[in-house]
Symmetry: C2
Subunit: 284 residues, 2 copies
């Protein structure tokens, strides 16, 4: 049996009892650690699980996972995922490969940013399609999110913007020379996302949103130091949300209760960066 276990958003204690029961039953525990990251070190998980945890990077999940599936044919194996079990498409791919090999799969659901974003007070019912915002480089400035946001705004829907995470990305040198060398981990801030979004609006010019559009940022949601701040997109370029992970919601039409909830999260003077916000660009 392959248990596909959502670990939730914050630390090792966000696993469910059902998830922990399954992990305790398993002979091997793998942790997918590149589509998101938990707020604690893997050693904290190992202490709770009372067994070793093997961390998997993208290369392992995409190429080396067949060995895990072979193990799961005869043993109980836990494949742990930050957030929910099905948070990323990669996990569907894993399920399909498992079915192909005759491995039974059991998911254990948990919170992900896709539903915890309701902590902003915006109703999940009123969200349209989610978008991803990637780090712009000198030569690569993908703006396909703009069209999706346009569709959402036409129907008054909110847009959850998931912000780029670069964990264990090979350096250019590593790619050229076939050596193992990684870029430092980078996480997009809400401020950087706001800058990039406004830059795209300026170049596309269709008036899908602007500096006065309301948005709300969440940081470290589900952790003890969770931070939620609502302001205009123009202001968000200078709001300091602190440590990762950040997400940003572009607000659509709001009901009265959503508006009242956003008001409780309004930015305060101390939320702003002194001077310029660090715009975490990756050079191409």
């Amino acid at each position: 049996m392959l248990y596909l276990i959502g670990l939730g958003l914050g630390n090792e204690r966000d696993v469910t009892l059902r998830g922990l029961d399954a992990i305790k039953r398993c002979s091997k525990v793998y942790l997918e650690a590149y589509t998101s990251v938990l707020g604690v070190d893997v050693r904290a998980m190992e202490a709770l699980y009372e067994k070793p945890v093997r961390t998997c990077d993208r290369a392992f999940v995409e190429q080396g996972v067949d060995a895990v599936l072979d193990e799961a044919l005869s043993e109980d194996v836990a494949f742990c995922v930050v957030g929910d079990a099905f948070a990323a498409t990669t996990h569907s791919d894993l399920v399909l490969r498992a079915i192909e090999r005759g491995v039974a799969v059991r998911p254990v659901y948990n919170a992900s940013i896709m539903n915890a974003v309701a902590g902003t007070g915006l109703s999940l019912y009123n969200f349209g399609k989610a978008v991803s915002i990637c780090f712009f480089t000198q030569t690569w400035r993908p703006d396909s999110f703009y069209d999706l946001i346009r569709d959402n705004r036409k129907s008054g829907a909110h847009t959850l913007c998931l912000l780029d995470i670069r964990v264990k990305e090979p350096t250019v040198r590593a790619l050229c020379k076939g050596i193992e060398e990684y870029e430092p981990a980078r996480f997009m801030t809400a401020a950087t996302a706001a800058k990039q979004m406004l830059e795209v609006e300026e170049s596309r010019g269709e008036g899908v949103y602007g500096e006065d559009t309301m948005c709300v940022a969440v940081a470290r949601i589900g952790q003890d130091d969770e931070k939620i701040r609502a302001c205009t997109l123009g202001e968000m370029r200078r709001v300091d949300m602190g440590a990762p992970l950040h997400s940003l919601v572009l607000v659509g039409d709001v009901m009265e209760i959503e508006s009242a909830m956003l008001a409780t999260h309004a930015v305060k003077p101390e939320d702003f960066y002194d001077g310029d916000a660090p715009c975490q660009m990756l050079d191409g």
Copy 2:
């Protein structure tokens, strides 16, 4: 402190360790039990929590909750919610009232149908606004979901349809005479939802969807006997998804991997009702 604790989808062991830690710390534990229901009796929760759980109906939450907030001014109080902490607008209302009274609120996130629906293999990124489908009566056949589904389908988005739950609804006699008397609990089946949706298409006639539109139903998601079945909306009228709770997704444009995942959930002959599907209408 008021802890707003998501209990997850299945049984008492779907609570997170963070949630259980909070419950153990609290002097009082309340359970909101009308926007959704857990697959186990409250006694199973009490055994796990080692303290009594007070079940709250809609009237209590909407009118009597101020006493709970007063308690939370001086004690740690747990307000438990099936699914996620912010699954329903009611809970935002509770947070606003708490803030007004100076009560600190801490949410504990968990899975809800809004993200666990990804267990179908459809990507959460590609969902548009969610809709609610209410039991039709002779005189009340609300069809506002139709316009929302139209918007979603224009942009190729999937639509999560949340199906009516009638728990502890006062009888007409109770409303007239001011006595305490309740209708038996009723839960809409995916088959009934499909019938109602096709009836609305027939009367509105805009061709937003039809009998050949692909859909996928989920039943008891997150529980050990979770069932997921994909077929056309016409077929879904006769598919037996078993015990509650059911939800239905009207499928939009699919990526290759979503299509492959849906194929693993295709209906089989034994999934169909013998004879006619019970169409759970409430008479007006």
